[in-house]
Amino acid sequence: MSDSVSLSAQVVILAPFVAAILGLLVARNRPAGALISIAGAAVSLVAGAHVLYAIHHGPFSPEVPTVGPLPLGQLKMPLTLLVDELSAIVVVAVAIVGLAVQLFSQWYLHDDDRYGVFVASVSLFLSAMFLVVLSGDLVLTLIGWEVMGWCSYLLIGHNSRKESANKAATKAFLVTRIADLAFVIGLIILASGVSTTSITAVIDGWPDLPAASLTAAFLCLLIGVAGKSAQFPFHDWLPDAMEGPTPASALIHAATMVAAGTFFLARLFPIFVLSDPARLALAMITAVTMVGAAIIAFGQSDLKRMLAYSTLSQIALMLSALAVAPASVGAGPGVLHLLSHAMFKALLFLAIGWLSVLVAGTAAAKMSGGVRYHPQLRLPIAIGLLALAGVPPLVGFVSKESILGAAYDNVTELGSLSGWIVLVSFGVTVVLTAAYCTRAWLVLTHLSPADEAVRRASLAASRTVVDVSLVEIFTEPAPGTVRDSSGTPGQPAAEVEHDHGHAGIFPGARVSIGALAFLSVVGGLIIFTPLVGVEPHLVWGLAASSLLLILVAWLSVRRMAAMNSSGDAADFLGARRIALFDRGFGVDGIYVAVVSPVVRLARIVVTADRDLIDASVRSTVVATRWAGAASERAHTRKPSDYLVWLLLGLLVVGVSGVTLW
């Protein structure tokens, strides 16, 4: 039994890894690539399900070997996997989303010449995510963590012909990487304390060690988590990452990688609760992020970017659960929201991606009324938005309420500052979330007569020139990006989407969306299974008041939308403000301010390398030449001068000999 669990756990990671390598080898062969990638994800799902099943039905050894321990003297590095309920349930969730995304990609990128590379990267990403989830060793976590980042880079920059995609990819990787530097130090501190990188040993050993070190370690880790999970102040890369193909966004930038930080902190929760300063820091970060991102989300002129900001906000929610949950409650609420968010956010992304294909763009203006024209999307999107807003009985409601419960417990039991911070910001976020969900729904269902005429014309046009546009997409230079250029809002960055509106969606993609939608509806029931160690702990008063808040938000946004001819509540803000929202309030400037001194320093270094260090080397040559010229002048070739030297030499040698010998 235990062996089969070990094997399954290994297969979970290996299957997509092998799929990635095989996929690269057959990258030119589309059907083979599709088969391999889907099979990889499917095998992982099956193996993950087996692990999940086995855990609850029999004894198993949680430590699963991988490549064997490394011989490093005093440092123990067992490199084992850790299989338990937490990891198993997350594995299944990730595998579901992964499979769905693979299926969806097959349709979404069916005319992309780099489909094979794309799905191979996704497979590699899945493997890395599984590694993070199953990791029982800090180093394995770090490996998965960083490989995910690299895959994110590759996938955001998938369309590397597009300058904006390249920029976004570079930015995403750099920002997360820089945050990860602190993460690495945090890991090193954690490992140093107990001279091992085994997570179980770390959890067992740290309670006896100085709290200050623990806090330092967690503060470092939090920076890394904030980077990967796109929390303030590292959040700005995520909206830009929407340059990547939508399936990638659904998988990486909604469901999995950005939530990995939550999982990691949940994994270390037993010692994380020991460090109040770190928890307070996390609470503050998440509070700022959840509220700020929700506000920005409301004002986005691009719905995909709106989803990105909403992701920031939701991730902040799950993290905040970890910041406030009392030790007795555990990491359950955060993980629960991770799972539910994975489902409904992936659903939303895929659905929006589908719609974007149909309407050839993700800008609010383009999508306006999209659902009306494409009613097959009405249900998935509605489910997704409702779940996002936290309307019962959808999964979002359940998970959010459990977070609320955890915060409440914190306030009542511990009464710590972080509990209050989270509670208050949670309330604000509920309103804002409902507001932007409402806005999105209204935009999608709105249709003015004038728009309809335009739409018909443009659709007709696009269909007549469909072949040309296909060619153009690949040959013409991409439209310049707007975000980094002088602050003038141009077209939303993710505007150009592949036009496969003429092609019917593949059944696999349809099934994947359906499955996600189903899970978003019924996923809330998971809380009643023993799969997640969360007691259903709903504070009915809070739940009711949050529902009230949602209702208020719904009504007020409807009013605002009605006041605009476009049906977009955000237009209420005015074009200039929307531009500001689109730029994410110009946080980019901070990054530029941080990076540009580094580049200046680099210039100084190059100059110093040449004019200081190397010049001192060259100066020896000059000195040699000079000495040579001087001694050549001294060599007059006059014998009488030489005799002077000779006798002078006698004196020098004689005096030095007599005095020094």
Binding site: L646, G649, V658, W661
Partner: protein, 506 residues
């Protein structure tokens, strides 16, 4: 009063007697039969080889400390004036073979024709060689002084006898330095005698002085003045200035002789004195350290600026002389061996370089063979000669494949390090770099592809006939023998340095 008459073992003295006798025979022959040329060379070579054969018995002696063959000893078991141990024998062998090789190089050289004819040249070479071998065995002040002068004075004439203006200049530079230096040597001998009261240059004599501490400064002064006097012959800065003049002015084989036999004689003389004072437990010799450091540095710096290969080799000699005496800064028996080993490696490599130049003189003419820039593309034109030259240069630079030079460097640095003369060692390290720059500068020219621009104006030649091969003369077989012998010796000793180093004993 006792009849203090020494016993004589002529067999032991053969390394000295053979070339001396050869010189005498040649002079007599010349009186009898005039205008002989080849005969003189044959006699000379024979006498040198006989002398060389006589040294073989002494090689590798001294594995047991103090083991040596002695003669000219005072009757009542006293001291000996001639001691042939391994160091002596090795230096003698080196001197004799070097002399033979320089004779091989000069064999076909008509320019050496002089008023006295070949006989004068050859007998002068033999006499100087005899001086060199004699000084190696000398253990008394008289032999030491006379033999040194015997090794020096003929070289002045040999340089001058080329007759060219530059030769006279070189001879004058050499002469003045030699005269003054001999004066210093005489003073050194006088001081030694005054300090020790003995005419012997032996540890016994030096130790006799120990009881009288007031005389110690005199002994010290004797040693340092001797260093100054011998420094001239070794081309140590600041006693070096004659070197480029004399090398450049002298006929090529004589330059090789100056670079080889003269240096052996000088070092042999220095070693005699150093070995005499070594048992005193002397601290490091600052005088040698200074001279060595300055020599290396100045020699390398100047060699870097030379555009003529002979002058370059002359300055390289100056630098290498610094390396030769480097270990002697630490006055010890191992330093003596190291110094000897370095000298042998240097002489071998330098001889090969001179031999290659001599061959090139015959092929390309003196002007081209002496101009560094004309070595461009040598590797393509004369691969074998160029390879031999490369080997010689790399040995001088102390880089593999010239492992002999590398080992010599190791040997030379070791006593310095053992005595913890860190500053000197670091200076030596920097000079190793400068030295590499010197020799690689030459080597770079050699291995460069010949300048295509220079080849364009060459006259059209029929296909299949190399323009070079069509015009050049052949290398004289004697020169080829010299090149081959030294090259093979260098390769063999590079693979197994023990064959060379081991001769000096342990």
């Amino acid at each position: 009063m006792s009849q203090a008459v020494v016993s004589v073992n002529a067999g032991l003295l053969l390394p000295v007697l053979a070339p001396a006798a050869g010189a005498a025979i040649i002079l007599v022959t010349d009186v009898v039969v005039q205008h002989l040329r080849r005969t003189h060379y044959v006699i000379a070579l024979l006498s040198l080889l006989v002398g060389a054969a006589a040294t073989v018995a002494g090689l590798g002696l001294g594995r047991v400390a103090g083991e040596a063959r002695r003669t000219l000893c005072l009757p009542d078991g006293g001291q000996c004036m001639y001691v042939a141990d391994s160091v002596t024998s090795t230096l003698q062998l080196a001197a004799l073979l070097t002399a033979a090789l320089t004779l091989l190089l000069s064999w076909p050289d008509d320019k050496l024709e002089s008023p006295g004819g070949t006989a004068v040249i050859v007998s002068l070479v033999l006499a100087a060689t005899a001086g060199a071998t004699a000084v190696a065995g000398a253990r008394d002040l008289g032999t030491w002084l006379v033999a040194l002068e015997l090794a020096t004075l003929p070289t002045v004439a040999l340089v001058a006898l080329r007759g060219a203006r530059s030769a006279i200049s070189g001879a004058v530079a050499l002469l003045t330095a030699a005269l003054v230096s001999f004066g210093l040597l005489a003073l050194a001998a006088g001081l030694w005698y005054t300090a020790t009261g003995s005419g012997f240059l032996t540890p016994v004599a030096a130790l006799a002085m120990v009881g009288d501490p007031t005389r110690r400064p005199i002994l010290v002064l004797a040693v340092v003045v001797a260093i100054a006097g011998i420094g001239f012959k070794l081309s140590l800065v600041p006693f070096h200035a004659w070197t480029p003049e004399a090398y450049d002015g002298a006929p090529l084989p004589i330059a090789a002789f100056l670079a080889g036999v003269s240096k052996i004689a000088a070092l042999a003389a220095l070693l005699v004195m150093i070995r005499a004072i070594a048992p005193l437990g002397a601290p490091p010799l600052a005088a040698i350290a200074i001279v060595s450091a300055v020599s290396m540095t100045l020699g390398n710096i100047m060699a870097l600026r030379q555009n003529g290969v002979i002058r370059l080799l002359a300055w390289s000699t100056v630098a290498q002389a610094g390396w030769v005496v480097l270990p002697l800064a630490a006055v010890s028996s191992s330093a003596v061996h190291a110094s000897g080993a370095y000298l042998l490696a240097y002489v071998l490599a330098t001889l090969l370089a001179f031999a290659v130049i001599a061959a090139l003189v015959q092929i390309r003419g003196a002007a081209r063979a002496r101009d560094l820039a004309q070595y461009r593309g040598l590797l393509g034109d004369h691969p074998i000669l160029a390879s031999a030259l490369a080997l010689a240069l790399l040995s001088l630079a102390g880089l593999p494949p010239g492992i002999l030079g590398l080992v010599a460097k190791v040997a030379a640095l070791r006593p310095v390090v053992d005595s913890e003369l860190w500053l000197l060692a670091v200076i030596a390290a920097f000079n190793a770099v400068l030295g590499v720059a010197v020799y690689l500068r030459w080597l770079l020219v050699v291995i460069s592809t010949s300048d295509p621009a220079a080849k364009v104006p060459a006259p059209a030649v029929p296909d299949g006939v190399s323009p070079v091969a069509a015009t050049v003369a052949r290398v004289h077989p004697a020169t080829l023998v010299a090149v081959g012998f030294t090259a093979v010796a260098l390769v063999v000793t590079s693979l197994s340095p023990q064959t060379l180093v081991g001769m000096l004993g342990i």
